[in-house]
């Protein structure tokens, strides 16, 4: 384009297609030819068939990329959580307990809601969700399986962090002392009794 032109019309038509198939001629701008436009649309439709596919793939890729982003997001929060847990100390106080419980709770909630998180990255319609065995089959063919798995694994990572924190705080029944109260005393087999014989002196 020359820089001298103060204004230009681009009449190649693609512009119009981009604008949509508007039938309102009154609004048609100068240089607009219906036929050309229709013809062009036909051509462009044929041409955009590939275009469309390409775009869908692009979107799918994009979605996939975004899905991976979403899947890996918890991983990024792990160091932050770890620092937070570390900072809150191992003593049982309201803050440390709150932080740990929130961490555990969020992880569990996230794992339970993994489908809703990845719904927006799904390329298939969500209306007809397969059930039963079909769901399993569908799952195996689900392109989001990997990101979902990754997401779950990372959430489990968070969960492990929380459990480790619980352990550090002594809340996990891992020591002997935690099971002491449930232990049955040993049954004594012999009954021994006795003592001093009465001397009967006084």
């Amino acid at each position: 384009m020359t820089s001298k032109a103060l204004w230009t019309f681009n009449l190649t038509g693609s512009d119009t297609v981009a604008r949509g198939n508007s039938r309102n001629t009154k609004l048609d701008p100068p240089g607009f030819a219906e036929a050309v436009a229709n013809d062009g649309a036909r051509i462009s439709r044929r041409g955009s068939q590939d275009d469309q596919q390409e775009k869908e793939v692009q979107i799918a890729n994009l979605k996939m990329k975004k899905a991976w982003d979403a899947a890996l997001a918890p991983g990024k929060s792990i160091p932050m959580n770890a620092i937070m847990l570390y900072m809150s100390g191992n003593s049982i106080q309201i803050f440390s307990v709150l932080v740990t419980v929130m961490l555990l709770w969020n992880s569990i909630k996230a794992i339970m809601g993994v489908n809703t998180v990845f719904d927006r990255f799904s390329t298939k319609s969500t209306e007809t969700r397969p059930r039963g065995i079909a769901a399993l089959l569908a799952l195996s063919s689900d392109p989001l399986l990997l990101p979902k798995l990754a997401y779950i694994v990372l959430q489990f990572g968070c969960l492990a962090l929380g459990v480790w924190k619980c352990g550090a705080m002594g809340l996990l029944p891992t020591a002997h002392s935690d099971w002491l109260a449930f232990m049955e005393p040993k049954k004594i087999l012999e009954y021994g009794v006795g003592g001093s014989l009465e001397s009967h002196t006084s």
Binding site: G170, A175, H176, S177, D178, L180, A181, M183, E184, P185, K186, K187, I188, L189, E190, Y191, G192, V193, G194, G195, S196, L197, E198, S199, H200, S202
Partner: protein, 1004 residues
């Protein structure tokens, strides 16, 4: 906001002086003095005073109005009270064994004025004293040393030792002559022997035996003084004689003197006075006679039982009283004015002999009443050893002095209220009953008990609120039903004098009392707790004589024989040496079986029915016995019971531990068979567990080995050894030596031992390193090295001084805990424990100095064993004191505690256990000579009921872990209820407002 303000206002606590309130609110104290052996019932004008010196070595002035002591002086148990006299300066006493003390006590305050000591002779304890010119005291000690002491300051004026073969028991001063009266052993009978002495110089004038002086016992000799002469009366072997002291050959027959037939001297009343009354029993009557030959009065009907005589000098006259037994429910009292020889009257006093036995001694006090007539009080000592004061035909007060000789006691739980027991009833169904009733019937029963419960609900609420608002203390009626907290129980004491008394533990009121004549009780067992419908039953074990033991079964709530028809209530055996309650029940009346160990290895079963025998025989394989002759012996034996061919049970020896010759058993621990162990291990700071060595058949036993005669001897060494012996196998699991440890003095036992769960505490006196024997036993080194090793492991400074005996004489307490293994988390995994397969326990120990002398040691008891135990100490200074087990913890770290130790909550080690006045259970009360402490669990896990006795009886509640299951007394229930009400009101108001707002929002 307003509500909040209101709540705040109401929550402001109302302060009250709870400390003073609490004293006496949940505890009670019965102050006793012991059975009086010396009584002085005096009257000066309007005031009468009762001085007593007792068999428990107590001197006291008792208020005749209340029976409480105005003052009392409790002498040491080894300071035997030998003689007491009331003089013009005060009360003079002679007491002691090896060291004889002559003391003057101020009569009104009980303060010690002076104390003069001299050497005693244990084999001749006789002592007497008299007063001579100017209030000086002349004492006769050991029957051979006569000393004149200045009455003012107790200094010795002269002392002379008699060189004689006769034994003198009595001293009598007459003017400036002293007469010593005693007996001299001749061919068949002892003969009266007399020494005449100069009271001013102590020179013996002469010693002689009057003719016809043969007597059966020295108790048959009586002295009766006069202004002119001193007469000596004695019941000779055939006749009674009279002799004027100083006139050697002058002996008259009493029959001739008073002109009566077959005279026998009963007693001489108040021989110190100018006109003593001599009571003579003639053929069928009693006479009051006076020197030289007057018969003042004749009591007819000599056949009446009792015949206790008492006299009183007051109002310028002498009165004589004869007490005889009425019907068994009353006493007959005849009062005679012996000065003017006229009978005043005969009175009847209600007196139930079944409860206390017949009267043994009586002391009279006569006083003028406002209307001019004569009133009298009688202080009596009954056969059980208790005292009563009678006045105007009624008992004014009773003091159970018999309980100063209580040998055993047992707690009896009261039955639950009938409502609850109905539920129990249902649960406690017999198998045959289960088979017979239909399910509808059972359902109806259930409904019925629920209905009854509902019906009683208002009453319960009232009772509850009464309890909450603290008015429960006001009721005085005795309810023999268990209360909500289980602190109301019955404690049954049995004494060596045959007295049995049941007190309620809430207030100390007498529930019932009984007297068993001639029986010396030594054990009580609760053989049936209060189960539904059946009353609780106790068995009393006592001896009638050296070869007969008796077992009495009594209903613990009423004291009546059980079963009520009197059959089988009493069982007679040969001499029984040991009684043990078995964990077996007689199926019929659900009483526990008792195993009795008699002489010659005989074992009896009580009750001995075929069913009981069957149950016992199936139990025999697991039944093991250990017996010892007790403190002072050096042998411990293990036995099994086997049936001999004739059907009797016999002991068969299985093992025997013989301690080296010089070692004598000093104390035995015993683990209660009913003890609950809450936790099987001890949680350490790093959350690992040290498993407790829980072997109920493990016996802690302390022995003492001494050389030399006593702590003042240069050769003296003393060592206390602690053994842990498995009583089933006889294996010694542990042995520790405490060098230099022993008794304070040979006659002050200072070694006490208590044992519970997996620990033991022993207390002893440390004589210091110079009393430690030098050679070291090989086995001890091992244990000490084990200890050392363990300490090293725990990063503590290795106790290089572990062999050294602390160079500080004083009382020490050593605490030992037994664990399954030294390593945490390691345990012998098994569901059963058998002594035959057990390992040695790992023992850790620490010792502490304790600043007070300990007379008795015991433990608190709680229902589930969750509450920390407390070691209860009867302190020699008259306190019941509690030491928390947390302080007696052998894991207390030496030096700065590590993080783990801090986490575990152990206190850093301190060598002394400080005396903390807050832990004195008896607060400011003086509870002397505690010999036994017995605890019982209540329904509150935090609270343990504790009774200490010995001389006094003191009952208190102890909560070693604080009362964690009850709200504090100062809790503001009103505020709580108001807050709840305010919140409910607030919610109600807010609910209305919220609904209105919601509706308004919807209309928008």
């Amino acid at each position: 906001m307003l509500l909040l303000l209101l709540a705040c206002l109401l929550c402001t606590p109302v302060f009250s002086a709870i400390h003073v309130d609490q004293a006496g609110a949940t505890d009670w104290h019965k102050e006793l003095v012991g059975t009086p052996s010396h009584v002085f019932y005096t009257r000066t004008g309007q005031r009468s005073q009762l001085f007593v010196g007792t068999e428990r070595n107590v001197l006291a002035l008792i208020s005749p109005k209340t029976g409480n002591s105005v003052w009392r002086q409790v002498l040491e148990p080894s300071d035997d009270l030998l003689s007491v006299r009331l003089g013009s300066h005060g009360l003079v006493s002679i007491s002691g064994r090896r060291l004889i003390h002559t003391r003057l006590w101020d009569a009104q305050t009980g303060f010690l004025v002076w104390d003069q000591s001299s050497d005693g002779n244990v084999s001749k304890p006789a002592a007497d004293l008299t007063f001579t010119g100017g209030g000086d005291v002349v004492t006769l000690i050991n029957g051979e040393t006569v000393t004149r002491l200045s009455g003012e300051e107790g200094s010795i004026l002269w002392s002379s030792k008699l060189e004689t073969s006769a034994t003198y028991r009595c001293i009598y001063a007459h003017g400036r002559v002293l007469y010593l009266i005693g007996t001299k052993q001749s061919r068949d009978y002892p003969e009266v022997s007399i020494i005449q002495m100069d009271a001013i110089t102590g020179r013996i004038i002469e010693e002689y035996q009057p003719p016809n002086g043969a007597v059966r016992a020295s108790e048959d000799i009586f002295v009766a003084g006069d202004v002119e002469h001193v007469y000596l009366y004695w019941n000779g072997v055939a006749r009674a004689y009279r002799h004027i002291l100083g006139r050697q050959a002058d002996v008259e027959e009493v029959e001739e003197v008073f002109g009566i037939e077959s005279a026998e001297i009963v007693t001489v009343l108040q021989p110190e006075t100018m006109h003593p009354d001599i009571i003579i029993r003639a053929k069928d009557k009693y006479l009051i006679a006076r020197n030289p030959h007057t018969v003042v009065h004749t009591f007819q009907r000599a056949h009446l039982e009792g015949n206790i005589f008492a006299t009183a000098h007051s109002l310028g006259k002498t009165h004589v009283l004869r007490l005889t037994r009425g019907s068994g429910k009353e006493l007959r009292a005849e009062l005679v004015d012996s000065t003017s020889a006229k009978a005043i009257g005969t009175y009847s006093i209600p007196f139930i002999e079944r409860m206390s036995g017949p009267v043994q001694k009586a002391f009279l006090d006569v006083f003028p009443k406002k209307d001019g007539s004569i009133g009298f009080r009688i202080f009596i000592i009954t056969a059980d050893g208790s005292t009563k004061l009678l006045k105007d035909g009624a008992i004014v007060w009773t003091k159970e002095e018999a309980l100063t000789k209580a040998s055993a006691a047992v707690y009896v739980d009261l039955p639950e209220k009938s409502l609850l027991s109905q539920v129990h009833d249902e649960l406690n169904e017999q198998p045959e009953e289960t088979a017979s009733i239909t399910s509808i019937e059972r359902y109806m029963r259930r409904v019925r008990s629920h209905y009854n419960k509902v019906k009683a609900l208002p009453e319960r609420i009232v009772a509850m609120s009464k309890y909450l608002f603290g008015s429960s203390n006001t009721h005085d009626d005795m309810d023999l039903r268990a209360d909500m907290l289980g602190v109301r129980k019955v404690i049954v004491f049995a004494s060596k004098t045959g007295k049995v008394v049941a007190y309620d533990t809430e207030r100390g009121r007498t529930v019932w009392e009984r007297y068993f004549g001639g029986i010396s009780f030594w054990q009580v067992e609760n053989i049936r707790t209060s189960v539904v419908k059946y009353p609780p039953v106790i068995t009393l074990v006592g001896n009638r004589d050296e070869s007969t033991s008796l077992l009495y079964r009594l209903n613990a709530l009423t004291g009546d024989d059980y079963p009520g028809d009197g059959s089988n209530a009493t069982s007679e055996f040969g001499l029984i040496r040991k009684v043990m309650r078995l964990p077996l029940e007689e199926p019929e009346d659900r009483t526990h079986l008792l195993a009795l160990v008699g002489q010659d290895s005989q074992v009896y079963l009580h009750p001995d029915s075929p069913v009981a025998r069957g149950a016992f025989e199936t139990f025999l394989p697991t039944f093991h016995l250990y017996l010892t002759e007790g403190v002072g012996s050096s042998e411990l034996g293990g036995f099994k019971v086997a049936q001999s061919p004739d059907g009797n049970y016999k002991l068969i020896s299985t093992w025997k531990v013989e301690f080296p010759d010089d070692e004598k058993i000093a104390a035995l621990g015993e683990v209660s068979k009913h003890e609950h162990v809450a936790s099987l291990g001890r949680v350490l700071g790093n959350r690992s567990v040290l498993y407790k060595y829980l072997n109920p058949n493990l016996l802690a036993l302390a022995t003492i080995a001494t050389t030399g005669t006593g702590p003042f001897d240069a050769q003296f060494t003393s060592v206390v050894l602690l053994y842990l012996i498995d009583t089933v196998t006889g294996s010694i699991h542990y042995r520790a030596e405490f060098k230099g440890a022993g008794h304070v003095l040979p006659d002050i036992p200072s070694i006490h031992l208590v044992q519970s769960e997996n620990w033991a505490v022993v207390s002893y006196w440390n004589h210091g390193p110079e009393a430690a024997p030098s050679q070291i036993d090989q086995s001890t080194i091992e244990t000490e090295q084990d200890l050392k090793k363990k300490r090293k492991k725990k990063r503590k400074p290795a106790a290089a001084t572990s062999f050294a005996v602390p160079d500080a004489k004083g009382f020490e307490m050593a605490t030992l805990e037994f664990y399954e293994s030294a390593k945490p988390d390691s345990r012998l995994e098994s569901n059963t424990f058998s002594s035959f397969q057990s390992k040695r326990p790992h023992v850790i120990a620490q010792s502490y100095a304790f600043p007070k002398r300990i007379n008795a040691m015991a433990l608190t008891a709680t229902g589930a064993g969750i509450t920390t135990k407390e070691v209860l100490l009867g302190l020699a200074e008259g306190h019941l004191y509690g030491v928390n087990k947390r302080l007696l913890d052998p894991r207390r770290p030496v030096g700065a505690p590590t993080a783990d130790e801090k986490e575990e909550g152990v206190l850093p080690y301190r060598a002394t256990l400080d005396f903390n006045p807050k832990e004195v259970a008896s607060y400011h009360l003086y509870v002397p000579r505690i010999e036994h402490v017995l605890s019982s669990a209540t329904k509150l896990e935090s609270t343990s009921l504790t009774i200490a006795w010995g001389l006094d009886i003191f009952c208190a509640r102890r909560s070693p872990s604080k009362a964690f299951d009850v709200l504090s007394e100062g809790f503001n229930y009103g505020a709580l209820l108001t807050t709840i009400a305010a919140l409910i009101l607030g919610i109600w108001v807010a609910k209305g407002m919220a609904q209105r707002k919601k509706l308004n929002d919807l209309w928008k």
